[in-house]
């Protein structure tokens, strides 16, 4: 029987080795999967990881898609490190888009450099407000924020749907569910000629940098990390648990709301029933693949973005069905997350398991939160 045993401290070797294990395992799966579909695996890897980036436009798309992911994941990571499990970033993004889009529509035709900052402020406020609901329910009634934040995603997307079907519907749009196209002043300026990359990318980098400073350098960030690692010690040290919950939720909500504005003021340019292909959920994976660290999150969001583009490219260049590209994407992410287990655990071929050994290892497992 093989079992996992907690390491006394995280393994430095496996911190570096685990991505390699994941990549090796994924490549192995690829070599089984693609030939089974009648495709040359080398062509498939090329289509997935090289083809999307072989033009300036492709690089622009990579950064464009990575921007909302890194913004949201940075915000979520702040909460996750404090053991605050905000699963509803997709809803907070949607509320950000509603609030920012509302400003854009209210100021339609107004040509002022203040429109965009106002939209962003509204977007952050929208995301924060939406995240405040689960934070309040958690601190007031001890309601599980995983459930409440997730449920509010549906409320948010249906609210957006209601608005674009009704009050904010484009009067010239033949009753189709979408708003007017935003004025020029409500669109983020392009950053790189011949691509769709806009200044939202720099904003995303700024958010990541701010997230790093907050979590690593600030006293409040330190308190949140302590609250996540050792709740009892944090309590004893006088760190307020409700404040940790509030901060963890609101930071995540604000970042997601800003990302929502980045989408509608960026590539979409209007409100429509769906403003995100699931960035709020994908960012949860990004946060963990990036090991909840800002630098890791930047790389993880680029990888995630590349996987999206690679999936399209594999469909286009190899005629692989979307189910297969999705399966391959999932495999890579699964291995990346699974291989990280070896940082904190090691495999043991246990011959005899004594009661004492079980008792000794179990609490450790609980403490590390896996």
């Amino acid at each position: 029987m093989i079992r996992l045993e907690a390491r006394p401290e995280p393994s430095r070797t496996f911190k570096w080795a685990s991505p390699l294990i994941a990549v090796t395992a994924t490549v192995a799966i690829g070599f089984a999967l693609f030939p089974a579909m009648g495709k040359n695996p080398f062509d498939a890897f090329h289509a997935f990881f090289v083809k999307p980036l072989d033009s300036l436009y492709g690089v622009g798309e990579l950064l464009l898609k990575a921007s909302p992911l890194m913004m949201i994941a940075t915000g979520l990571a702040a909460g996750y490190r404090a053991n605050v499990w905000n699963i509803g970033a997709e809803g907070q993004l949607t509320l950000g888009a509603i609030a920012g889009g509302g400003v854009a529509l209210a100021l339609h035709g107004v040509d002022s450099p203040l429109v965009l900052p106002l939209m962003m402020a509204a977007g952050v406020a929208g995301g924060v407000a939406w995240a405040a609901i689960p934070a309040w329910l958690r601190t007031r009634f001890n309601a599980n924020e995983i459930l409440t934040s997730l449920m509010l995603v549906y409320v948010a997307t249906l609210t957006l749907s209601l608005l674009v079907h009704d009050a904010w519907r484009d009067p010239e749009g033949f009753n189709f569910p979408q708003s007017k196209l935003f004025s020029e002043s409500a669109i983020l300026p392009n950053m790189l000629e011949a691509t769709r990359l806009h200044w939202g990318f720099l904003l995303a980098l700024a958010v990541v940098a701010a997230g790093w400073v907050f979590m690593q350098m600030s006293y409040v960030g330190y308190q949140m990390r302590v609250a996540g690692l050792a709740p009892a010690a944090a309590h004893y040290a006088g760190i307020s648990a409700p404040r940790t919950v509030w901060l963890g939720m609101l930071i995540g909500g604000g970042c997601a709301g800003l990302a929502g504005v980045g989408e509608i003021a960026g590539p979409i340019g209007q409100l429509q029933p769906s403003v995100s292909p699931g960035y709020g959920f994908a960012a949860i994976i990004v946060a963990f693949v990036g090991r909840l660290h800002p630098v890791g999150i930047v790389f993880a969001s680029l990888l995630m973005s590349l996987l999206y583009l690679g999936g399209e490219s594999a469909q286009l260049n190899l005629a692989l069905p979307s189910a297969v590209t999705g399966l391959f994407q999932g495999t890579l992410l699964f291995f990346l997350l699974a291989a990280d287990v070896f940082i904190h655990y090691r495999l043991r071929g246990a011959k005899r398991v004594t009661r004492a050994a079980v008792a000794a290892s179990d609490p450790a497992r609980k403490m590390s939160g896996v």
């Binding site: 072989d54 249906l158 079907h165 769906s274 069905p321």
Partner: protein, 368 residues
């Protein structure tokens, strides 16, 4: 300083790569004799039945008809939103000279991409914006709905039909209304109940909606959503169903009375043929039974011959232009007259339809 040199070398390579990349869009022209490259963008997986399946069937029919003159590529499950623009653009950039974008939400992205690729031809389904190189096409689904309504009106015992609908946009609303008018033309007591699922493709929700409608007394269910869930629900509960998009009889061999099917093959073949000949022009195609874009699937054997004959007769009248499902008097379900007696609705008004006709229960989600 070797380090410096290496950096300069890298920068030069990068600049070269950028120059090639920027130069690419201009080079998207095929030479004479080469097959025309045609791209398709699908909103959902192709699957075995449904909206995208019918478009893909059309694509295959076109390939069969034109043989070596064309090659096609498709991308499925492309979300309506920021991603669509990239996919459409990639198709244009990689030399596809005719691109079909098969969902309403691709409208603005198609228009945007078309502006940067003036030599590429685009055809967008179910939208209303066109351009010098963007044509639009759609089918008169409502004609088939009216016919299916006749069958449902004759077959129902409870006089209640259930309708699982996606979004309250005119295309869906006119289908519901045509179905209700078809039912009531043969059964004045017939009522239609509608459940909105706010999704084009969500088998779980569609199934639930169909079950709800059946438990509220509907003994014929139909759907304006992409999966086969409603037909399967009817089969399981031993009531009747009218399939949509595709013939779904294999999912409801006892339940499906008939199905309103979409036939895009002829249109795709014609559009591709004219592009091959260099004669493509942006059009505004809205074809129905007459053009062969809408067809009723074979009747179930439980449908009596006289019901089949009655339906076929109306079908022939529509084909010949003798009959229009929205010929007045048409009242909405609050009793207000919407189309005067003897008048027929025009296409512009039809495309803005935002009320339920008599016989449909409830209130449209977006009506004020």
């Amino acid at each position: 300083m070797p380090r410096m040199n290496r950096r300069i070398a890298l920068a030069t390579i990068a600049a070269g790569a950028l120059a090639t990349a920027v130069a690419l869009p201009a080079a998207a022209q095929t030479k004479a004799g080469e097959p025309l490259k045609i791209g398709f963008v699908y909103v959902s997986p192709i699957g075995d039945a449904g909206w995208t399946f019918q478009h893909d069937t059309g694509r295959k029919e076109m390939e069969a008809a034109l043989g070596a003159k064309v090659t096609t590529k498709y991308i499925e499950s492309v979300p309506e939103g920021a991603d669509a623009e990239r996919v459409i653009r990639e198709l244009a950039q990689s030399g596809h000279q005719l691109v079909f974008t098969t969902s309403f939400g691709y409208m603005n992205p198609t228009i945007k991409v078309a502006a940067t690729f003036p030599k590429t031809h685009f055809e967008h389904a179910t939208g209303y914006k066109s351009a010098k190189n963007v044509g639009i096409y759609n089918a008169r689904f409502y004609e088939g709905r009216y016919l299916a309504g006749i069958v449902a009106g004759r077959m129902t015992k409870t006089n209640v039909a259930g309708y699982v609908a996606a979004f309250p946009i005119p295309e869906v609303v006119m289908g519901i209304n045509a179905f209700a008018r078809g039912m009531r033309s043969v059964n004045p007591k017939a009522e239609v109940k509608v459940v909105w699922v706010n999704s084009w493709f969500d088998p779980g929700k569609e199934r639930q909606a169909a079950d709800t409608l059946i438990s509220q007394g509907a003994d014929v269910v139909t759907h304006h959503t992409d999966s086969t869930a409603a037909v399967q629900a009817a089969e399981a509960k031993k009531v009747y169903a009218v399939g949509y998009h595709s013939d779904m009889s294999k999912y409801g061999p006892n339940a499906q009375l008939t199905a309103v099917t979409h036939q895009w093959g002829d249109f795709y073949t014609k559009a591709a043929q004219s592009a091959v000949e260099g004669k493509w022009k942006p059009g505004n195609v809205w074809g129905g039974i007459k053009e062969g874009m809408i067809k009723l699937a074979a009747f179930n054997k439980v449908v009596p011959q006289d019901v089949q004959d009655q339906t076929r007769k109306v079908e022939a009248d529509i084909r010949a232009g003798r009959f229009h499902p929205f010929t007045g008097p048409v009242k909405d379900n609050t009793g207000k007259e919407r189309i005067a007696a003897g008048k027929t609705i025009d296409d512009v008004t039809l495309n803005k339809m935002d009320y339920y006709v008599e016989g449909v229960q409830g209130k449209l989600p977006s009506s004020k």
